[in-house]
Protein backbone atom coordinates (compact mmCIF):
# COMPACT_ATOMS: atom_id res chain seq x y z
CA UNK A 1 0.00 0.00 0.00
CA UNK A 2 1.16 3.54 -0.73
CA UNK A 3 1.18 6.63 1.40
CA UNK A 4 0.78 10.32 0.81
CA UNK A 5 3.31 12.38 2.74
CA UNK A 6 3.60 16.09 3.41
CA UNK A 7 7.02 17.70 3.77
CA UNK A 8 6.56 17.44 7.53
CA UNK A 9 5.50 13.85 7.14
CA UNK A 10 8.66 12.91 5.23
CA UNK A 11 10.70 14.80 7.82
CA UNK A 12 9.09 12.55 10.43
CA UNK A 13 9.87 9.47 8.31
CA UNK A 14 13.53 10.51 7.96
CA UNK A 15 13.75 11.03 11.73
CA UNK A 16 12.34 7.54 12.32
CA UNK A 17 14.63 5.91 9.74
CA UNK A 18 17.65 7.78 11.14
CA UNK A 19 17.21 6.19 14.53
CA UNK A 20 18.52 2.90 13.20
CA UNK A 21 20.13 3.77 9.86
CA UNK A 22 22.19 6.49 8.22
CA UNK A 23 20.26 7.99 5.33
CA UNK A 24 22.69 8.28 2.43
CA UNK A 25 21.49 10.56 -0.33
CA UNK A 26 22.60 13.01 -3.03
CA UNK A 27 23.49 16.21 -1.24
CA UNK A 28 24.84 19.62 -2.19
CA UNK A 29 28.42 20.45 -1.20
CA UNK A 30 28.71 24.18 -1.77
CA UNK A 31 31.73 25.67 -3.49
CA UNK A 32 33.46 22.35 -4.16
CA UNK A 33 32.47 21.95 -7.82
CA UNK A 34 34.65 21.76 -10.93
CA UNK A 35 34.74 25.48 -11.47
CA UNK A 36 35.00 28.33 -9.00
CA UNK A 37 31.81 29.13 -7.16
CA UNK A 38 30.10 25.96 -8.30
CA UNK A 39 28.75 23.17 -6.13
CA UNK A 40 29.16 19.44 -6.34
CA UNK A 41 26.29 17.03 -5.80
CA UNK A 42 27.51 13.84 -4.23
CA UNK A 43 26.40 11.35 -1.65
CA UNK A 44 26.47 12.05 2.06
CA UNK A 45 24.47 11.41 5.21
CA UNK A 46 21.30 13.45 5.51
CA UNK A 47 18.83 13.80 8.35
CA UNK A 48 16.10 15.84 6.65
CA UNK A 49 14.38 15.67 3.25
CA UNK A 50 15.40 19.27 2.58
CA UNK A 51 19.04 18.19 2.28
CA UNK A 52 18.26 15.75 -0.54
CA UNK A 53 18.91 17.16 -4.03
CA UNK A 54 16.01 16.22 -6.32
CA UNK A 55 16.25 18.68 -9.14
CA UNK A 56 19.51 17.56 -10.70
CA UNK A 57 21.49 14.38 -11.19
CA UNK A 58 24.22 13.79 -8.63
CA UNK A 59 27.72 14.24 -10.06
CA UNK A 60 28.93 11.16 -8.19
CA UNK A 61 26.99 7.97 -7.61
CA UNK A 62 25.83 5.94 -4.62
CA UNK A 63 28.76 3.51 -4.91
CA UNK A 64 30.78 4.79 -1.98
CA UNK A 65 28.16 3.11 0.20
CA UNK A 66 29.72 -0.23 -0.73
CA UNK A 67 33.09 0.79 -2.18
CA UNK A 68 34.42 3.76 -0.21
CA UNK A 69 37.23 5.75 -1.80
CA UNK A 70 39.34 4.14 0.89
CA UNK A 71 38.31 1.22 3.12
CA UNK A 72 40.45 -0.44 5.77
CA UNK A 73 40.36 -4.23 5.43
CA UNK A 74 43.02 -5.35 7.91
CA UNK A 75 45.11 -3.99 10.75
CA UNK A 76 48.57 -5.41 11.23
CA UNK A 77 51.68 -5.44 13.27
CA UNK A 78 54.77 -7.30 12.08
CA UNK A 79 53.49 -10.43 13.80
CA UNK A 80 49.70 -10.31 13.52
CA UNK A 81 46.95 -9.47 11.09
CA UNK A 82 43.42 -8.72 12.28
CA UNK A 83 40.21 -7.88 10.45
CA UNK A 84 38.86 -4.38 10.43
CA UNK A 85 35.26 -4.24 11.54
CA UNK A 86 32.81 -2.15 9.61
CA UNK A 87 30.39 0.19 11.33
CA UNK A 88 27.43 -1.75 12.73
CA UNK A 89 24.97 0.83 11.46
CA UNK A 90 23.46 0.19 8.07
CA UNK A 91 22.51 2.68 5.38
CA UNK A 92 19.29 3.67 3.71
CA UNK A 93 20.44 4.70 0.24
CA UNK A 94 18.26 7.06 -1.83
CA UNK A 95 19.00 6.54 -5.50
CA UNK A 96 17.62 6.73 -9.02
CA UNK A 97 16.53 3.85 -11.21
CA UNK A 98 19.83 3.79 -13.17
CA UNK A 99 21.81 3.57 -9.96
CA UNK A 100 19.60 0.78 -8.62
CA UNK A 101 20.41 -1.10 -11.82
CA UNK A 102 24.08 -0.45 -11.07
CA UNK A 103 23.66 -2.27 -7.73
CA UNK A 104 23.05 -5.45 -9.73
CA UNK A 105 26.38 -4.91 -11.55
CA UNK A 106 28.20 -4.40 -8.25
CA UNK A 107 26.56 -7.54 -6.83
CA UNK A 108 27.72 -9.50 -9.86
CA UNK A 109 31.38 -8.53 -9.39
CA UNK A 110 31.56 -8.74 -5.61
CA UNK A 111 29.23 -11.68 -4.95
CA UNK A 112 29.26 -13.81 -8.09
CA UNK A 113 32.49 -13.27 -10.01
CA UNK A 114 34.64 -15.61 -7.90
CA UNK A 115 34.09 -16.10 -4.18
CA UNK A 116 31.94 -13.66 -2.21
CA UNK A 117 33.70 -10.57 -0.97
CA UNK A 118 32.88 -10.58 2.74
CA UNK A 119 33.52 -6.86 3.25
CA UNK A 120 31.16 -6.02 0.41
CA UNK A 121 28.53 -8.48 1.60
CA UNK A 122 28.69 -7.12 5.12
CA UNK A 123 27.93 -3.60 3.91
CA UNK A 124 25.48 -4.68 1.26
CA UNK A 125 23.37 -6.75 3.68
CA UNK A 126 22.89 -3.67 5.84
CA UNK A 127 21.65 -1.44 3.00
CA UNK A 128 18.04 -0.64 2.15
CA UNK A 129 17.45 1.03 -1.19
CA UNK A 130 14.89 3.79 -1.59
CA UNK A 131 14.18 4.53 -5.25
CA UNK A 132 13.81 8.23 -6.06
CA UNK A 133 11.29 8.48 -8.89
CA UNK A 134 12.42 10.39 -11.99
CA UNK A 135 9.60 12.60 -13.32
CA UNK A 136 11.83 13.89 -16.11
CA UNK A 137 15.06 12.99 -17.81
CA UNK A 138 18.17 15.02 -16.96
CA UNK A 139 20.58 16.35 -19.56
CA UNK A 140 22.74 13.57 -20.95
CA UNK A 141 20.75 10.66 -19.46
CA UNK A 142 20.20 7.61 -21.70
CA UNK A 143 18.68 5.11 -19.26
CA UNK A 144 15.90 4.19 -21.69
CA UNK A 145 18.46 3.03 -24.26
CA UNK A 146 20.19 0.89 -21.64
CA UNK A 147 16.90 -0.48 -20.26
CA UNK A 148 17.48 0.88 -16.76
CA UNK A 149 14.70 3.48 -16.64
CA UNK A 150 12.44 1.34 -14.46
CA UNK A 151 14.36 -0.90 -12.11
CA UNK A 152 12.70 -3.37 -9.75
CA UNK A 153 14.10 -4.55 -6.44
CA UNK A 154 13.70 -1.39 -4.32
CA UNK A 155 12.93 -1.58 -0.62
CA UNK A 156 10.92 1.61 -0.85
CA UNK A 157 10.02 4.06 -3.58
CA UNK A 158 9.53 7.78 -3.27
CA UNK A 159 7.91 10.15 -5.77
CA UNK A 160 8.12 13.89 -5.31
CA UNK A 161 4.94 15.86 -5.91
CA UNK A 162 4.24 19.61 -5.78
CA UNK A 163 2.44 19.26 -2.47
CA UNK A 164 4.61 16.59 -0.90
CA UNK A 165 5.55 12.99 -1.64
CA UNK A 166 4.10 9.60 -2.46
CA UNK A 167 5.80 6.58 -1.02
CA UNK A 168 5.50 2.85 -0.85
CA UNK A 169 7.69 0.33 0.95
CA UNK A 170 8.33 -3.35 0.39
CA UNK A 171 10.46 -3.48 3.51
CA UNK A 172 8.67 -3.65 6.87
CA UNK A 173 11.03 -1.33 8.76
CA UNK A 174 10.74 1.35 6.09
CA UNK A 175 6.98 0.81 5.84
CA UNK A 176 6.39 1.28 9.58
CA UNK A 177 7.62 4.89 9.43
CA UNK A 178 5.48 5.60 6.34
CA UNK A 179 2.39 4.22 8.05
CA UNK A 180 3.00 6.40 11.10
CA UNK A 181 3.56 9.66 9.22
CA UNK A 182 1.55 9.26 6.01
CA UNK A 183 -1.99 9.01 4.76
CA UNK A 184 -2.83 5.75 2.96
CA UNK A 185 -3.43 6.06 -0.77
CA UNK A 186 -3.50 3.59 -3.63
CA UNK A 187 -0.47 1.70 -4.86
CA UNK A 188 2.43 3.97 -5.74
CA UNK A 189 4.22 3.32 -8.98
CA UNK A 190 7.69 4.88 -8.94
CA UNK A 191 8.06 7.66 -11.50
CA UNK A 192 10.25 6.67 -14.40
CA UNK A 193 11.02 8.27 -17.73
CA UNK A 194 10.00 6.56 -20.96
CA UNK A 195 12.14 8.70 -23.24
CA UNK A 196 15.40 10.58 -22.92
CA UNK A 197 16.54 13.49 -25.08
CA UNK A 198 18.40 11.03 -27.31
CA UNK A 199 18.84 7.32 -27.82
CA UNK A 200 22.05 5.31 -27.86
CA UNK A 201 22.37 2.13 -29.87
CA UNK A 202 25.07 -0.41 -29.23
CA UNK A 203 25.67 -2.18 -32.57
CA UNK A 204 24.27 -5.72 -32.47
CA UNK A 205 27.24 -7.05 -34.42
CA UNK A 206 29.77 -5.50 -32.03
CA UNK A 207 32.77 -7.75 -31.37
CA UNK A 208 36.17 -7.24 -29.81
CA UNK A 209 37.54 -6.89 -33.35
CA UNK A 210 36.54 -3.22 -33.08
CA UNK A 211 39.59 -2.80 -30.86
CA UNK A 212 41.67 -2.78 -34.07
CA UNK A 213 39.74 0.14 -35.52
CA UNK A 214 41.09 3.69 -35.78
CA UNK A 215 38.09 5.16 -33.92
CA UNK A 216 40.13 5.06 -30.69
CA UNK A 217 43.04 7.12 -32.02
CA UNK A 218 41.50 10.54 -31.41
CA UNK A 219 41.48 9.85 -27.66
CA UNK A 220 45.28 9.44 -27.60
CA UNK A 221 45.56 13.20 -27.67
CA UNK A 222 42.30 14.30 -26.10
CA UNK A 223 42.22 12.06 -23.07
CA UNK A 224 44.78 12.94 -20.41
CA UNK A 225 43.87 9.91 -18.30
CA UNK A 226 42.51 11.67 -15.22
CA UNK A 227 40.05 8.85 -14.55
CA UNK A 228 37.14 11.07 -13.52
CA UNK A 229 34.80 9.18 -15.87
CA UNK A 230 35.42 5.96 -13.93
CA UNK A 231 35.27 7.54 -10.50
CA UNK A 232 31.79 8.96 -11.16
CA UNK A 233 30.60 5.77 -12.88
CA UNK A 234 28.09 3.83 -10.77
CA UNK A 235 29.25 0.55 -12.35
CA UNK A 236 33.03 0.93 -12.10
CA UNK A 237 34.10 -1.40 -9.31
CA UNK A 238 37.90 -1.53 -9.58
CA UNK A 239 40.14 -1.08 -6.60
CA UNK A 240 43.75 -1.50 -5.52
CA UNK A 241 45.27 -2.91 -2.36
CA UNK A 242 47.38 -0.46 -0.39
CA UNK A 243 49.40 -0.82 2.80
CA UNK A 244 50.32 2.03 5.08
CA UNK A 245 51.84 2.26 8.49
CA UNK A 246 51.22 4.63 11.32
CA UNK A 247 54.42 4.89 13.28
CA UNK A 248 57.86 6.05 12.39
CA UNK A 249 59.36 2.63 13.03
CA UNK A 250 56.70 1.01 10.86
CA UNK A 251 55.62 -1.56 13.42
CA UNK A 252 51.87 -1.15 12.94
CA UNK A 253 49.61 -0.19 10.09
CA UNK A 254 46.69 -1.15 7.95
CA UNK A 255 45.88 -2.70 4.59
CA UNK A 256 43.11 -0.98 2.73
CA UNK A 257 41.43 -1.01 -0.60
CA UNK A 258 41.18 2.20 -2.53
CA UNK A 259 39.13 2.93 -5.62
CA UNK A 260 41.19 2.44 -8.76
CA UNK A 261 40.71 3.29 -12.42
CA UNK A 262 41.73 1.64 -15.67
CA UNK A 263 42.11 5.18 -17.06
CA UNK A 264 44.81 6.20 -14.58
CA UNK A 265 48.57 5.46 -14.83
CA UNK A 266 49.78 2.45 -12.90
CA UNK A 267 46.63 0.34 -13.27
CA UNK A 268 48.41 -2.48 -15.11
CA UNK A 269 51.99 -1.98 -13.89
CA UNK A 270 53.69 -5.09 -12.60
CA UNK A 271 57.03 -5.33 -10.82
CA UNK A 272 59.79 -5.47 -13.40
CA UNK A 273 58.30 -2.72 -15.54
CA UNK A 274 55.70 -4.48 -17.69
CA UNK A 275 52.80 -2.15 -18.54
CA UNK A 276 49.79 -2.39 -20.81
CA UNK A 277 47.63 0.31 -22.43
CA UNK A 278 49.79 3.40 -22.18
CA UNK A 279 47.77 5.46 -24.67
CA UNK A 280 44.57 7.33 -23.85
CA UNK A 281 42.86 5.68 -26.81
CA UNK A 282 43.74 2.21 -25.57
CA UNK A 283 42.38 2.98 -22.13
CA UNK A 284 39.21 4.47 -23.61
CA UNK A 285 38.78 1.32 -25.71
CA UNK A 286 39.30 -0.93 -22.65
CA UNK A 287 36.74 1.00 -20.60
CA UNK A 288 34.12 1.50 -23.30
CA UNK A 289 34.20 -2.12 -24.46
CA UNK A 290 33.83 -3.30 -20.85
CA UNK A 291 30.70 -1.19 -20.49
CA UNK A 292 28.98 -2.30 -23.69
CA UNK A 293 30.55 -5.64 -24.67
CA UNK A 294 32.91 -7.50 -22.32
CA UNK A 295 30.81 -7.39 -19.15
CA UNK A 296 27.79 -8.61 -21.10
CA UNK A 297 29.77 -11.56 -22.47
CA UNK A 298 30.48 -12.62 -18.91
CA UNK A 299 27.39 -11.59 -16.96
CA UNK A 300 24.73 -11.68 -19.67
CA UNK A 301 23.64 -8.02 -19.54
CA UNK A 302 25.20 -4.66 -20.31
CA UNK A 303 27.27 -2.96 -17.64
CA UNK A 304 26.53 0.65 -18.62
CA UNK A 305 23.32 1.92 -17.05
CA UNK A 306 23.10 5.13 -19.08
CA UNK A 307 23.38 7.64 -16.24
CA UNK A 308 25.45 10.02 -18.38
CA UNK A 309 27.72 11.10 -15.52
CA UNK A 310 30.96 10.30 -17.41
CA UNK A 311 30.06 12.71 -20.20
CA UNK A 312 29.17 15.45 -17.75
CA UNK A 313 32.37 15.18 -15.70
CA UNK A 314 35.02 14.91 -18.45
CA UNK A 315 37.29 17.99 -18.42
CA UNK A 316 38.15 17.34 -22.08
CA UNK A 317 34.50 17.05 -23.15
CA UNK A 318 35.03 13.48 -24.31
CA UNK A 319 31.66 11.85 -24.83
CA UNK A 320 31.09 8.20 -24.05
CA UNK A 321 27.81 8.44 -25.94
CA UNK A 322 29.55 9.76 -29.06
CA UNK A 323 32.04 6.92 -28.74
CA UNK A 324 29.21 4.34 -28.68
CA UNK A 325 27.82 5.97 -31.83
CA UNK A 326 31.22 5.54 -33.50
CA UNK A 327 31.32 1.80 -32.75
CA UNK A 328 29.22 1.00 -35.82
CA UNK A 329 31.76 2.83 -38.02
CA UNK A 330 34.55 1.03 -36.23
CA UNK A 331 32.97 -2.36 -36.94
CA UNK A 332 32.47 -1.42 -40.57
CA UNK A 333 36.11 -0.39 -40.81
CA UNK A 334 37.51 -3.62 -39.36
CA UNK A 335 35.12 -5.78 -41.36
CA UNK A 336 36.14 -4.06 -44.60
CA UNK A 337 39.80 -4.37 -43.72
CA UNK A 338 39.31 -8.10 -43.31
CA UNK A 339 37.93 -8.49 -46.80
Amino acid sequence: MGYQLTQDGLRQVFADWSREYDIYAPKRFEGTGRFSETDVIRYGTVRTPEEVVWDQRSDYSWKEAVLPVCQTLLYFTEETVTEAKDPERGKIVLLRSCDLAAVKRFDYIFLQNGPEDSYYKDRRDKIKFVLMGCDHSFEGCFCVSMGTNRTAGWDAALNRREDGYQAEAADSFLAAALEKAGTPCGDVVPDGVDANDFTVTVPEDLTSAVAQSTIWDEYDKRCFKCGRCTLVCPTCTCWSMQDLYYTENGQAGERRRVQASCMIDGYTDVAGGLKFRQKGGERMRFKVLHKVLDFKKRAGYQMCVGCGRCDAICPEYISFVRCIEKLADGMKEVTENEK
Binding site: L73, L74, F76, T77, E78, E79, V81, E83, K85, I109, F110, N113, G114, P115, E116, D117, S118, Y119, Y120, D122, S208, A211, T237, C238, W239, S240, M241, Q242, D243, L244, Y245, G250, G253, R255, R257, A260, C262, Y267, T268, D269, V270, A271, G272, G273, L274, F276, R277, F286, L289, H290, D294, F295, K297, R298
Partner: protein
Protein backbone atom coordinates in the same frame (compact mmCIF):
# COMPACT_ATOMS: atom_id res chain seq x y z
CA UNK B 1 33.61 -11.92 9.43
CA UNK B 2 32.87 -15.20 7.69
CA UNK B 3 35.01 -16.37 4.77
CA UNK B 4 37.22 -13.32 4.63
CA UNK B 5 39.10 -13.88 1.38
CA UNK B 6 41.61 -11.14 2.13
CA UNK B 7 42.70 -12.34 5.58
CA UNK B 8 46.15 -13.89 5.07
CA UNK B 9 47.72 -16.58 7.23
CA UNK B 10 51.19 -16.43 8.67
CA UNK B 11 53.76 -18.79 7.18
CA UNK B 12 57.28 -19.38 8.49
CA UNK B 13 60.27 -19.29 6.16
CA UNK B 14 61.81 -22.77 6.38
CA UNK B 15 64.65 -22.36 3.91
CA UNK B 16 66.03 -19.81 1.49
CA UNK B 17 67.65 -21.12 -1.68
CA UNK B 18 69.77 -18.52 -3.44
CA UNK B 19 69.81 -19.20 -7.18
CA UNK B 20 71.18 -15.91 -8.39
CA UNK B 21 71.78 -12.42 -7.12
CA UNK B 22 68.21 -11.40 -7.89
CA UNK B 23 66.36 -14.69 -7.58
CA UNK B 24 65.76 -16.69 -4.42
CA UNK B 25 63.40 -19.51 -3.58
CA UNK B 26 61.62 -19.18 -0.27
CA UNK B 27 60.43 -22.48 1.15
CA UNK B 28 57.40 -21.66 3.27
CA UNK B 29 55.57 -23.77 5.85
CA UNK B 30 52.17 -24.94 4.56
CA UNK B 31 49.99 -27.32 6.55
CA UNK B 32 46.67 -26.65 4.81
CA UNK B 33 47.25 -29.06 1.93
CA UNK B 34 44.42 -31.39 3.01
CA UNK B 35 41.72 -28.68 2.80
CA UNK B 36 43.41 -26.47 0.25
CA UNK B 37 45.50 -28.64 -2.08
CA UNK B 38 47.86 -26.73 -4.36
CA UNK B 39 48.56 -27.41 -8.04
CA UNK B 40 51.55 -26.32 -10.12
CA UNK B 41 50.76 -23.05 -11.90
CA UNK B 42 48.56 -21.75 -9.09
CA UNK B 43 49.62 -18.65 -7.21
CA UNK B 44 49.41 -17.03 -3.79
CA UNK B 45 49.24 -13.42 -2.77
CA UNK B 46 52.37 -13.02 -0.64
CA UNK B 47 52.71 -10.06 1.66
CA UNK B 48 54.78 -8.32 4.20
CA UNK B 49 52.57 -5.89 6.10
CA UNK B 50 53.29 -2.30 5.08
CA UNK B 51 54.95 -3.32 1.80
CA UNK B 52 51.83 -4.78 0.23
CA UNK B 53 50.96 -7.96 -1.59
CA UNK B 54 52.16 -9.54 -4.83
CA UNK B 55 50.89 -12.59 -6.74
CA UNK B 56 53.64 -15.22 -6.86
CA UNK B 57 53.49 -18.64 -8.54
CA UNK B 58 54.13 -21.76 -6.53
CA UNK B 59 57.39 -23.32 -7.72
CA UNK B 60 57.43 -26.40 -5.51
CA UNK B 61 54.88 -28.34 -3.50
CA UNK B 62 55.41 -30.87 -0.69
CA UNK B 63 53.07 -32.13 2.04
CA UNK B 64 54.30 -29.48 4.45
CA UNK B 65 55.77 -26.70 2.38
CA UNK B 66 55.42 -24.50 -0.66
CA UNK B 67 58.23 -22.92 -2.66
CA UNK B 68 58.01 -19.44 -4.08
CA UNK B 69 60.76 -18.33 -6.42
CA UNK B 70 60.91 -14.60 -6.32
CA UNK B 71 62.74 -12.13 -8.48
CA UNK B 72 63.86 -8.98 -6.75
CA UNK B 73 62.23 -6.35 -8.94
CA UNK B 74 59.83 -4.29 -6.86
CA UNK B 75 59.36 -2.61 -3.50
CA UNK B 76 57.74 -5.69 -1.96
CA UNK B 77 60.21 -8.17 -3.41
CA UNK B 78 63.12 -5.96 -2.30
CA UNK B 79 61.77 -6.24 1.23
CA UNK B 80 61.16 -9.97 0.86
CA UNK B 81 64.86 -10.42 0.19
CA UNK B 82 65.64 -8.90 3.57
CA UNK B 83 63.85 -11.79 5.23
CA UNK B 84 65.51 -15.07 5.87
CA UNK B 85 65.08 -18.31 7.76
CA UNK B 86 63.24 -17.79 11.02
CA UNK B 87 61.24 -14.95 9.54
CA UNK B 88 57.76 -15.18 8.11
CA UNK B 89 55.49 -13.85 5.40
CA UNK B 90 51.72 -13.66 5.17
CA UNK B 91 50.03 -15.69 2.44
CA UNK B 92 46.59 -16.15 0.95
CA UNK B 93 45.61 -18.59 -1.76
CA UNK B 94 45.91 -20.81 -3.68
CA UNK B 95 44.37 -18.91 -6.58
CA UNK B 96 43.97 -19.64 -10.28
CA UNK B 97 43.38 -22.84 -12.21
CA UNK B 98 46.96 -24.18 -12.43
CA UNK B 99 48.10 -27.26 -14.29
CA UNK B 100 46.49 -30.63 -13.76
CA UNK B 101 49.27 -33.23 -14.21
CA UNK B 102 46.67 -35.64 -15.61
CA UNK B 103 46.39 -33.54 -18.76
CA UNK B 104 50.00 -34.46 -19.57
CA UNK B 105 49.86 -38.17 -18.77
CA UNK B 106 50.63 -40.56 -21.63
CA UNK B 107 51.64 -37.65 -23.88
CA UNK B 108 54.78 -36.35 -25.50
CA UNK B 109 55.36 -33.25 -23.41
CA UNK B 110 57.24 -30.13 -24.53
CA UNK B 111 57.80 -27.49 -21.82
CA UNK B 112 59.43 -24.18 -22.79
CA UNK B 113 60.25 -21.64 -20.08
CA UNK B 114 62.08 -18.36 -19.78
CA UNK B 115 63.77 -17.47 -16.46
CA UNK B 116 61.39 -17.44 -13.53
CA UNK B 117 58.71 -18.66 -15.95
CA UNK B 118 60.04 -22.02 -14.89
CA UNK B 119 58.22 -21.66 -11.56
CA UNK B 120 54.66 -22.43 -12.73
CA UNK B 121 55.77 -25.62 -14.52
CA UNK B 122 58.38 -26.65 -11.95
CA UNK B 123 55.86 -28.93 -10.21
CA UNK B 124 54.92 -30.55 -13.53
CA UNK B 125 58.56 -31.29 -14.35
CA UNK B 126 59.12 -32.64 -10.83
CA UNK B 127 56.17 -34.99 -11.17
CA UNK B 128 57.29 -36.48 -14.47
CA UNK B 129 60.96 -36.57 -13.40
CA UNK B 130 59.75 -39.04 -10.77
CA UNK B 131 57.23 -40.76 -13.08
CA UNK B 132 58.87 -40.83 -16.50
CA UNK B 133 56.91 -43.96 -17.31
CA UNK B 134 53.68 -41.94 -17.12
CA UNK B 135 54.49 -39.86 -20.19
CA UNK B 136 55.57 -40.84 -23.64
CA UNK B 137 58.49 -38.42 -23.70
CA UNK B 138 59.43 -35.19 -21.94
CA UNK B 139 61.41 -32.31 -23.41
CA UNK B 140 62.18 -29.27 -21.26
CA UNK B 141 63.76 -26.20 -22.88
CA UNK B 142 64.69 -23.39 -20.48
CA UNK B 143 66.38 -20.09 -21.16
CA UNK B 144 68.15 -17.75 -18.76
CA UNK B 145 69.78 -14.37 -19.36
CA UNK B 146 73.33 -15.37 -18.41
CA UNK B 147 75.09 -18.17 -16.54
CA UNK B 148 74.72 -16.09 -13.36
CA UNK B 149 70.96 -16.10 -13.79
CA UNK B 150 70.52 -19.87 -13.97
CA UNK B 151 67.82 -20.95 -11.53
CA UNK B 152 67.18 -24.31 -9.85
CA UNK B 153 70.70 -25.64 -10.59
CA UNK B 154 70.23 -28.68 -8.32
CA UNK B 155 66.88 -29.43 -9.91
CA UNK B 156 68.34 -29.13 -13.40
CA UNK B 157 70.96 -31.78 -12.48
CA UNK B 158 68.34 -34.07 -10.98
CA UNK B 159 66.01 -33.63 -13.95
CA UNK B 160 68.82 -34.39 -16.37
CA UNK B 161 69.45 -37.69 -14.58
CA UNK B 162 65.80 -38.70 -14.81
CA UNK B 163 66.10 -39.32 -18.54
CA UNK B 164 64.13 -36.38 -19.86
CA UNK B 165 65.38 -34.36 -22.82
CA UNK B 166 66.51 -31.25 -20.90
CA UNK B 167 68.07 -28.31 -22.71
CA UNK B 168 68.94 -25.17 -20.83
CA UNK B 169 70.52 -22.22 -22.49
CA UNK B 170 71.65 -18.68 -21.74
CA UNK B 171 71.13 -15.62 -23.93
CA UNK B 172 74.74 -14.52 -23.47
CA UNK B 173 77.75 -16.04 -21.74
CA UNK B 174 80.32 -13.31 -22.48
CA UNK B 175 81.09 -12.59 -18.85
CA UNK B 176 81.58 -16.20 -17.79
CA UNK B 177 84.46 -17.94 -19.60
CA UNK B 178 83.90 -21.11 -17.53
CA UNK B 179 80.39 -21.66 -18.86
CA UNK B 180 80.37 -24.42 -21.45
CA UNK B 181 76.64 -25.00 -21.91
CA UNK B 182 74.19 -23.90 -24.59
CA UNK B 183 74.10 -20.26 -25.66
CA UNK B 184 71.21 -18.64 -27.55
CA UNK B 185 67.50 -18.00 -27.18
CA UNK B 186 65.09 -20.84 -26.43
CA UNK B 187 63.61 -20.45 -29.90
CA UNK B 188 66.94 -21.64 -31.31
CA UNK B 189 66.64 -24.91 -29.36
CA UNK B 190 62.93 -25.62 -29.84
CA UNK B 191 63.66 -27.52 -33.11
CA UNK B 192 65.75 -29.90 -30.96
CA UNK B 193 62.60 -31.26 -29.36
CA UNK B 194 62.59 -33.84 -32.22
CA UNK B 195 58.90 -34.38 -31.96
CA UNK B 196 58.17 -38.11 -32.26
CA UNK B 197 54.42 -38.25 -31.91
CA UNK B 198 52.81 -34.94 -33.04
CA UNK B 199 49.25 -36.22 -32.67
CA UNK B 200 49.84 -37.05 -29.04
CA UNK B 201 51.93 -34.01 -28.08
CA UNK B 202 51.25 -31.18 -25.65
CA UNK B 203 53.32 -28.02 -25.18
CA UNK B 204 53.42 -25.35 -22.47
CA UNK B 205 55.17 -22.02 -22.88
CA UNK B 206 55.80 -19.73 -19.89
CA UNK B 207 57.91 -16.61 -19.64
CA UNK B 208 58.09 -12.95 -20.67
CA UNK B 209 55.56 -11.86 -23.36
CA UNK B 210 58.12 -11.66 -26.19
CA UNK B 211 59.60 -15.04 -25.34
CA UNK B 212 56.09 -16.59 -25.35
CA UNK B 213 55.25 -14.95 -28.67
CA UNK B 214 58.35 -16.15 -30.52
CA UNK B 215 58.41 -19.59 -28.90
CA UNK B 216 54.86 -20.24 -30.08
CA UNK B 217 55.71 -18.90 -33.52
CA UNK B 218 58.59 -21.37 -33.66
CA UNK B 219 56.41 -24.27 -32.49
CA UNK B 220 53.75 -23.44 -35.07
CA UNK B 221 56.44 -23.10 -37.74
CA UNK B 222 57.49 -26.64 -36.95
CA UNK B 223 53.91 -27.77 -37.53
CA UNK B 224 52.91 -28.09 -33.88
CA UNK B 225 49.11 -28.26 -33.51
CA UNK B 226 47.96 -24.88 -32.13
CA UNK B 227 45.21 -26.59 -30.15
CA UNK B 228 47.82 -28.43 -28.12
CA UNK B 229 49.74 -25.41 -26.87
CA UNK B 230 49.15 -23.93 -23.41
CA UNK B 231 50.51 -20.78 -21.81
CA UNK B 232 50.50 -19.23 -18.35
CA UNK B 233 49.76 -15.51 -18.25
CA UNK B 234 50.69 -12.95 -15.62
CA UNK B 235 49.09 -9.59 -14.95
CA UNK B 236 48.76 -7.16 -12.09
CA UNK B 237 46.42 -8.68 -9.51
CA UNK B 238 45.42 -7.01 -6.27
CA UNK B 239 42.85 -9.58 -5.14
CA UNK B 240 43.29 -12.93 -6.91
CA UNK B 241 39.53 -13.52 -6.72
CA UNK B 242 37.92 -11.59 -9.58
CA UNK B 243 37.17 -8.39 -7.68
CA UNK B 244 39.86 -5.76 -8.19
CA UNK B 245 39.66 -5.72 -12.00
CA UNK B 246 43.37 -5.21 -12.75
CA UNK B 247 43.94 -8.56 -14.51
CA UNK B 248 40.89 -8.36 -16.77
CA UNK B 249 41.41 -8.82 -20.53
CA UNK B 250 38.11 -8.54 -22.39
CA UNK B 251 35.62 -10.79 -20.60
CA UNK B 252 38.45 -12.85 -19.08
CA UNK B 253 39.81 -12.50 -15.57
CA UNK B 254 43.33 -13.98 -15.54
CA UNK B 255 43.01 -14.80 -11.81
CA UNK B 256 39.69 -16.59 -12.20
CA UNK B 257 39.84 -18.14 -15.66
CA UNK B 258 43.62 -18.61 -15.76
CA UNK B 259 46.46 -18.03 -15.36
CA UNK B 260 46.76 -21.18 -17.50
CA UNK B 261 45.05 -20.82 -20.89
CA UNK B 262 45.02 -22.57 -24.23
CA UNK B 263 47.04 -20.68 -26.81
CA UNK B 264 44.02 -20.56 -29.13
CA UNK B 265 42.22 -18.55 -26.45
CA UNK B 266 45.15 -16.27 -25.54
CA UNK B 267 45.66 -15.49 -29.21
CA UNK B 268 42.50 -13.39 -29.20
CA UNK B 269 43.35 -11.49 -25.99
CA UNK B 270 43.56 -7.73 -26.45
CA UNK B 271 45.02 -6.07 -23.38
Amino acid sequence: MKNNTYLPFRSEILEVIKHAELEYTFRMAYDRGAEHPVKPGQFFEISIPKYGEAPISVSGITDHSLDFTIRKVGSLTNEIFENYVGGHFFLRGPYGNGFDVNMFKGKEIILVAGGSGLSPIHGVIDYFADHMDECERLTVIVGFKSPHDILFRDDLKRWKQSGMNLIYTVDKADDDPDYDGHVGLVTQYIPEMNLQDPDNAIAVVVGPPMMIKFSIKTLLGLGFDEEKIWVSESRKMCCGVGKCGHCRIGEIYVCQDGPVFKYTQVRSFID
